[in-house]
């Protein structure tokens, strides 16, 4: 109700600003929980209260009685409700924040200022029945139905200027878009520009061949060099076709850029809160690609989905399930086995200098009271056994089990024995 009568309109983030939502809104039709919220900075009630102290609008709550429009029938609008932050004590955390699609503005060679040059995510919304056009295929510029569409792969992926990695899912979703379009509009002309087509795995190559059968044209070896807006409003696409062995060009009505999958904003800060680290490409890093694929170097912190790297839905689900099992294995027994090779403070020797505390990469060291004094304490469940603290302690109060001074000296002696 409120989502239809609220008079304040703002660009709809879920549809990448291709249409508008109200200030009282439900994020998207499949949102969980599917509840309306009020977007405070854009709500006229809050704006006017801030300015004049008086509410200028309470339409969602009270409706517009003279027009016979009813307000929230459940009386659920609470203007005095506040955002709340909750502290929850947990035994483990799974980070699954997903990814961010690269925006088009980076790619000046593809005329990003043109409304008819869109990203695949935007195109996905245009194709969706619940999207900005209600599922109707329309050019954003003039609302006409495009007759020729060019799709460009690897935009920002496999590109040393942006991301050296392959985003992995673009080839397949481009083919998916092509298939949806060809099945719905058989006469549409589709040109898919690929460097090469990556359709690894079960059923994917078959999908590719089927899409070709439907009449989608595949241009390989052809990362497009430029998209220009022509005076007639059409887009000129220039590429290279390795199979024709010739430069090619095309006049398109709509250009769809398969932009790279990027790590989500703030993932580095988030990771460091948990002492989980990011790899070179900015995704959170697993401990071992094969043996510990969902574990981070912080104990009890797991990762799943695209926060760890580009992947498709089946892979994300498999990884999420693996992370859930790893979490359950850690938490459900109610007790934790400590590693044997960890460090321990002899608190009677500790001089309370605190040097070790900021050095520990796993935030395992705290200062706690011991015999009436502040002393360092290493949480054995968090210690990863790196030994940094033991080597730094000026009072030699920290024992690194398995690598005590005596043990190391004995090793040296054995190695240097004539």
């Amino acid at each position: 109700m409120c989502t239809e009568i609220c008079p304040a309109r703002v660009p709809n983030e879920y549809n990448f600003g291709l249409d508008q939502r109200r200030a009282a809104y439900i994020e998207y039709p499949q949102a969980v929980p599917k509840k309306a919220v009020i977007d405070e900075p854009n709500c006229l009630y809050f704006k006017s209260i801030k300015k004049t102290g008086k509410p200028a609008c309470e339409i969602c709550k009270k409706g517009i009685p003279p027009k016979g429009i009813q307000g929230c029938p459940a009386d659920a609008i609470k203007f005095d409700d506040k955002d709340e932050y909750m502290n929850i004590r947990v035994g483990a955390v799974i980070i699954a924040t997903g990814f961010k699609p690269m925006p088009k503005h980076y790619f000046k060679e593809y005329s990003p200022h043109s409304p008819d040059v869109i990203t695949s995510m935007e195109f996905e919304r245009i194709l969706s029945a619940t999207g900005p056009t209600g599922g109707e295929l329309k050019r954003p510029s003039d609302g006409t139905k495009p007759k020729t569409i060019a799709m460009i792969s690897c935009v920002g992926s496999r590109d040393e200027r942006y991301h050296p990695y392959c985003s992995k899912v673009c080839c397949m979703y481009m083919l998916k878009h092509a298939r949806i379009l060809k099945e719905k509009y058989p006469d549409i002309k589709l040109y898919l520009f690929f460097i090469d087509v990556r359709t690894a795995g079960k059923d994917f190559e078959e999908f590719y061949v089927y899409t070709r059968e439907l009449g989608a044209k595949i241009i390989r070896g052809g990362r497009v060099s430029s998209v220009d807006v022509k005076p007639n409003g059409k887009l000129r696409v220039r590429g290279f076709d390795v199979d024709l062995c010739s430069p090619v060009e095309l006049e398109a009505d709509l250009v769809v850029l398969a932009t790279a999958i990027e790590p989500p904003d703030g993932v580095e800060e988030l990771g460091s809160m948990f002492t989980a680290t990011c790899g070179r490409e900015g995704f959170l890093r697993e401990v071992h690609t094969k043996l510990y694929p969902v574990e981070t170097q912080a104990r009890g912190v797991f990762i799943a989905g695209c926060v760890q790297g580009p992947k498709d839905i089946p892979e994300s689900i498999a990884q999420a399930r693996a992370a859930a099992s790893a979490t359950a294995a850690l938490v459900i027994p109610g007790k934790i086995k400590f590693e044997a090779i960890i460090s321990e403070v002899d608190r009677d020797k500790c001089s309370s200098c605190g040097v070790c505390v900021p050095l520990c990469p796993y935030t395992a060291i705290r200062i706690v009271e011991y015999k009436g004094k502040e002393k360092a304490y290493i949480e054995p469940a968090l210690c990863a056994g790196c030994g940094v603290c033991a080597s730094a302690c000026p009072s030699r109060a920290i024992t690194f089990h398995g690598f005590t001074t005596d043990q190391i000296m004995a090793q040296i002696e054995a190695l240097t024995e004539a």
């Binding site: 070709r212 044209k217 199979d243 062995c245 430069p247 090619v248 060009e249």
Partner: protein, 178 residues
């Protein structure tokens, strides 16, 4: 091709109705070609250095590039060896693509002149290859002037011409069928 453009192929001229025409003319698996290049690695056209060889022909056909295919004489260079058909992993039958392009070309009289000469000879004499002055050469080596084919049997030739007149040749022959 854009004005001033050098060697740029304009995909916009791609015509899907041409693709459909080729499919109807026998290239029925055309669209499934994944451009793996295996045919190009065995085709004598490619081995002989022809630039527009089978793999590129299949791709151009799939893109509906009618003018390029009909203006180029490459399809007429095919040796009908059928190596491509045997080797193609997608069962495209690339030779059938060549044949379909040839059929399409014949319909719009876009064949090289020598193909018409062969066609005319075939109709007139029952032989596509009909080198001038063969009678003397045969005589020299002691053979009858005419070989014992349609050339020697007017009656059969007439019958055979009658049959040919009932084919598509009747519509497309750029010479009188008399």
């Amino acid at each position: 091709m854009e004005e001033g453009g050098v060697n740029v192929i304009d995909l916009t001229q791609g015509d899907e109705s041409f693709v459909k025409e080729l499919i109807a003319l026998g290239a029925d698996e055309l669209r499934e070609c994944i451009q793996c290049g295996k045919c190009g690695a065995t085709c004598p056209m490619a081995l002989a250095g022809l630039e527009f060889f089978i793999k590129r022909i299949v791709h151009a056909a799939n893109l509906g590039l009618r003018d390029i295919l009909l203006e180029d004489s490459s399809v007429w260079g095919c040796q009908s060896c059928n190596r491509c058909v045997e080797i193609c992993p997608m069962d495209i039958k690339p030779y059938e693509v060549i044949q379909a392009v040839r059929r399409a070309a014949v319909k719009v009289e876009a064949c090289p002149a020598n193909t018409y000469e062969g066609l005319r000879n075939l109709y007139r004499f029952g032989h596509a290859v009909f080198p001038k002055g063969f009678e003397e050469r045969r005589k020299k080596v002691g053979l009858p002037e005419k070989p014992p084919t349609a050339l020697s049997f007017d009656e059969f030739r007439k019958k055979y011409q009658e049959l040919l007149r009932q084919t598509i040749l009747e519509e497309i022959a750029p010479f009188p069928l008399d």
